[in-house]
């Protein structure tokens, strides 16, 4: 499970915009998308959407382990 993503700062801002109201940060969002339980404050449809976007069906077909491998060292590529 990739629970320690290295993300560009602008992506962190994006998480703040989308999930900030729920008090979640990047690491929380990735953990939920990865399949970890979500806090009660997060609606089930948000959880379902996060997981579906994180792991589209094509990936499920291609990757039996479902979760992606952690990146070696993603850089700020924007």
């Amino acid at each position: 499970m990739s629970t320690h993503p290295h993300t560009p700062e602008d992506l962190v801002d994006l998480v703040d915009q989308v999930l900030g109201g729920l008090g979640l940060d990047v690491r929380d969002a990735v953990r939920i998308a990865d399949g970890h339980p979500a806090p009660d404050s997060v609606d089930s449809y948000v959880v379902a959407a996060l997981r579906a976007g994180w792991c589209p069906p094509r990936h499920r077909d291609d990757d039996p382990a479902v979760a992606p491998e952690p990146a070696s060292a993603p850089q700020d590529r924007s």
């Binding site: 998480v15 989308v18 449809y45 579906a52 976007g53």
Partner: protein, 395 residues
């Protein structure tokens, strides 16, 4: 926060975590470029500088002679049209302006290149066209990156994420090759035929002495709006044939998945736990057995399909959406109570669009129609559906 925001965010988080673009579509959202010509327009200096390249040639033009670079790489009014590859549609608009300002010597290099640019400019307004490939927009239809939507508007971002080492117009050609790799969206081939007909008509008009710089007549302008609107609707409809697009749209509410709760002789009740449904009561819908990603191909008879009219959408006490369907098709076959089904708006039929344009053309020329006269149209008011008003307010 909407569910589709969470879906999009997760795709970006995945890309940032893996260091690779996340697919947003199974099919390529464009056709393979035809004898492509890539253009980068540098407007930072005092005068525009146009860099053009094909797989075998490159040229640069400046100022009033910028379009000569296109002529130098072989842009002509040839028998078949070519694909223009640009960073974005803003570049195409700037090119169109250059063409309109180009010296108008008949038969000159500028004139021929300017005419081709004018055709590209109008085709660029038709989503799915084979005539223009705006790289950043097309890439964003195919992949999500681990960055913001704003960063995706820059070619440099795509070069980095797709490991394209070339620069300038050559980079655009390489990116176009990457984004067009794979099977194109089913049904998109029709766009090529439409472009080919448009190109042929355009050349015939020029041969007949028409000046493309002359503004459209009312009828031509009306037709232009109609073809643009039809192309937009058709492309959006075709996109829903892509399983990953259908999955995303299920979180936006344009695709609804649920369980069949009851089936009558011509009716069906579908209950869904989705939070939102944007299918409008009174509209025609179609569907298939299975979830959103099980979307069948046009000729795939393995998955039972249905067509129906959406009569009503209500919310039950348990917060489930109840969709009441009428006039269901008889060939839904083995769909039974308890099955999972997915519904979307009825697919746009390009042949029906074509027929409708033909009828409209007749109507525009009918005596008494204000378009056939020099008079201004009379204003009129009519009720606007509430969801259209809400959508307009959101925009």
């Amino acid at each position: 926060m909407s569910a589709v925001d969470a879906f999009d965010l997760a795709q970006r988080l995945r890309a940032a975590t893996t260091g690779s673009p996340t697919p947003r579509a199974v099919f390529t959202p464009c056709l393979t470029p035809i004898d492509p010509v890539a253009v980068v327009l540098d407007r930072d200096a005092g005068e525009p500088v146009l860099h053009a390249a094909t797989p075998t040639a490159a040229a640069t033009g400046r100022g009033h002679h910028a379009l000569a670079a296109l002529y130098a790489v072989g842009v002509r009014l040839d028998d078949t049209h070519r694909t223009l590859v640009v960073p974005d549609l803003a570049t195409l608009a700037a090119l169109g302006m250059l063409a309109r300002e180009a010296p108008g010597t008949r038969g000159g290099a500028h004139t021929e290149a300017a005419a081709v640019v004018a055709w590209w400019d109008q085709r660029g307004d038709h989503p799915g066209t084979s005539a223009v490939l705006p790289v950043t927009d097309t890439c964003a239809l195919r992949w999500a990156l681990g960055t913001t939507r704003r960063a995706e508007q820059h070619v440099q971002t795509w070069r980095t994420w797709l490991d394209v080492s070339s620069t300038g117009p050559q980079a655009l050609l390489d990116l176009a090759d990457r984004v067009a790799e794979g099977d194109p969206l089913p049904g998109l081939q029709d766009a090529y035929d439409t472009d080919a007909r448009s190109w042929s008509r355009f050349r015939d008009d020029l041969d007949g002495g028409r000046d493309w710089r002359r503004p459209d007549s009312r009828t031509q302008a009306a037709f232009g709006l109609t073809t643009r609107s039809d192309a937009t609707q058709l492309f959006e409809s075709l996109r829903l044939r892509d399983p990953l697009v259908a999955l995303r749209e299920s979180y936006a509410g344009n695709v609804v998945t649920g369980r069949v709760a009851a089936i009558g002789k011509h009716t069906m009740l579908v209950e869904s736990t989705q939070p939102v449904c944007r299918l409008r009561p009174g509209s025609d819908v179609q569907g298939w057995r299975g979830d959103a990603v099980a979307v069948p191909g046009a000729n795939d008879n393995r998955i039972p399909k249905l067509t129906a009219a959406l009569r009503e959408v209500t919310v039950s006490a348990g917060r489930a959406l109840a969709l009441e369907l009428g006039e269901i098709s008889r060939h839904h076959g083995t769909i039974t109570v308890g099955d999972m089904v997915t519904l979307r708006g009825r697919a746009v039929d390009p042949y029906q669009q074509q027929r409708a344009r033909g009828f409209r053309g007749l109507h525009y020329r009918t005596a008494g129609n204000w378009m056939a006269t020099r008079n201004a149209p009379r204003g009129g008011r009519r009720p606007v559906p509430l969801d259209v008003v809400i959508q307009a307010a959101d925009d």
